[in-house]
Symmetry: C2
Subunit: 294 residues, 2 copies
């Protein structure tokens, strides 16, 4: 195993609500940082703090030992890695690419294979914990790909996340994230239906949560989204549009694996209804409006 320098050169591609604070942590930790993002002005603060601008993913990868990607969907990652000015054009032996986006596990495996032909490792490393986790460097990071490459970037990942798990071969990080999204969304639906019955039956909703949250009914979703549902607070934590994107990836992966996930299918249809009602940019707790038909 080739150990990276203690301060390898890093690049970060995609400076959105997640990528921006994550890249900031790398800069704070003293890693020489090059950035690229579609909307240049999103990089302003990082450039002022000492980051270097690159004009394309290929240009960023050229001057880095490790390239991090944090964009939205499968086509975005394909564009960053495979297209005309993509990373593949400056891919070389020893380069490690770490993709923090949540995308298709099978597309991940195909890109890992394409990069491997140039001696470059692709690690799929989707995160959970939202913008708060990104800001606090407390993300959970689920990493698929070769263990050797994982071990080399582990000290860098520790600057951005708290629970960092090597889940297995290429694609397994993405699959673990989709498993996570089944739990998150179906448990959210459980909370929506529970509070719907409580409300229709005239119960005091806050008292109801207090009475049940400490036992077998308890969950992060109940503790964190339940009070927002009661308050009618739709501000995102995690946006319905993104939850829907992840659920579509989940149902695709389930179909490929030959399993039928009925509850994941149901919650997907309900989130689609929420989107149709104009709630795509609302937090996932806004599903309560659809379930309770308020």
């Amino acid at each position: 195993m080739t150990l990276l320098n203690s301060k390898p050169r890093v690049a970060f591609i995609g400076l959105g609500i997640m990528g921006n604070p994550m890249a900031g942590h790398l800069l704070s930790a003293g890693y020489p940082l090059t950035v690229y993002t579609r909307t240049h002005k999103r990089a302003t603060e990082l450039l002022e703090r000492g980051a270097t601008w690159a004009d394309s993913p290929a240009a960023a990868a050229k001057v880095a030992d490790v390239v991090f990607i944090c964009v939205t969907d499968t086509p975005d990652v394909k564009s960053v890695i495979l297209e005309e000015h993509g990373i593949i054009n400056s891919a070389r032996r020893g380069l490690i690419v770490v993709d923090h986006s949540t995308i298709s596990p099978s597309a991940t495996q195909a890109m890992a294979k394409a990069l491997a032909e140039k001696g470059t490792h692709l690690l799929d490393a989707p995160v959970s914990g939202g913008d708060v986790g990104a800001k606090n460097a407390s993300l959970s990071i689920m990493v698929g790909g070769e263990r050797n490459a994982f071990e080399q970037v582990f000290p860098i990942l520790q600057k951005m996340g708290k629970t960092i798990t090597h889940t297995g071969p290429s694609g397994s990080g993405q699959l673990t994230k989709l498993v996570n999204q089944i739990l998150v969304s179906v448990t959210n639906l459980a909370v929506c239906e529970a509070l719907t019955l409580a409300k229709a039956g005239g119960l005091d909703l806050k008292k109801t949560i207090d009475a049940v949250a400490g036992g077998a009914a308890g969950s992060w979703q109940l503790n964190n989204l339940g009070p927002k549902m009661i308050a009618g607070d739709d501000a995102p934590g995690f946006m319905i549009d993104l939850q829907l994107k992840d659920l579509r990836l989940t149902l695709e992966a389930a179909e490929k694996a030959g399993v039928n996930l009925q509850a994941a299918g149901l919650v997907t249809r309900l989130f689609e209804t929420a989107k149709d009602r104009g709630l795509g940019k609302a937090g996932t707790q806004a599903l309560f409006h659809v379930v309770s038909q308020d």
Copy 2:
């Protein structure tokens, strides 16, 4: 408010897997205890410890200030309260009846009304926490009915439970329990579907739980039933037959309240499939066999 004596006479009707240890706690706390249960030999240990046998619910209520009931379903409670040798025949001003069974909220309200005509209070006080909670006196108890009556029995309930909540008027304890059961069963389904995709995709299931349980995907069901699903351990905590009974009460209550709970409906159908496969006496984690089609 008429305060009960510091050691009111108590009666306990229904000495099953829950009722037996609950009644035992009352005896240990020094309350004079009378018991009645359909199968006499279930009372043996309590009688040896000093409890008194009564030949019917009416006979038990006659010599008690507070009567506790812990049986299975709505018809059982109706039989204990309303039928020929039922409590109603010795109901009188000041008697308090506490029903720990999980039954229909509307049937509860009707029985409360019938008892109220004799000056007797009925409190609906379903519990969660299972046989372990009953043994450890750590049950959650959700109590509907008049606050005055609740306050009188509160010190006695503290001998059996830890989280004791007055949820509101008659029937609200039962409704809160049904809300609890939606959360428990739909979150269980979330865990089943998540582990089904993980298994089909070849993930290490234990590692998968460890990677996601600390975040927004976390729940009691994941922490407690997930490992049993992985191990193929179907031993009950909470039996599928009882979960199904509670889900039927839930769907009835939802229909009466005019709300449509699709996930609760789905998980009910899946538990029915489990029962059809001979898993009625298994723990609720055995739902994983149905969802993963193993």
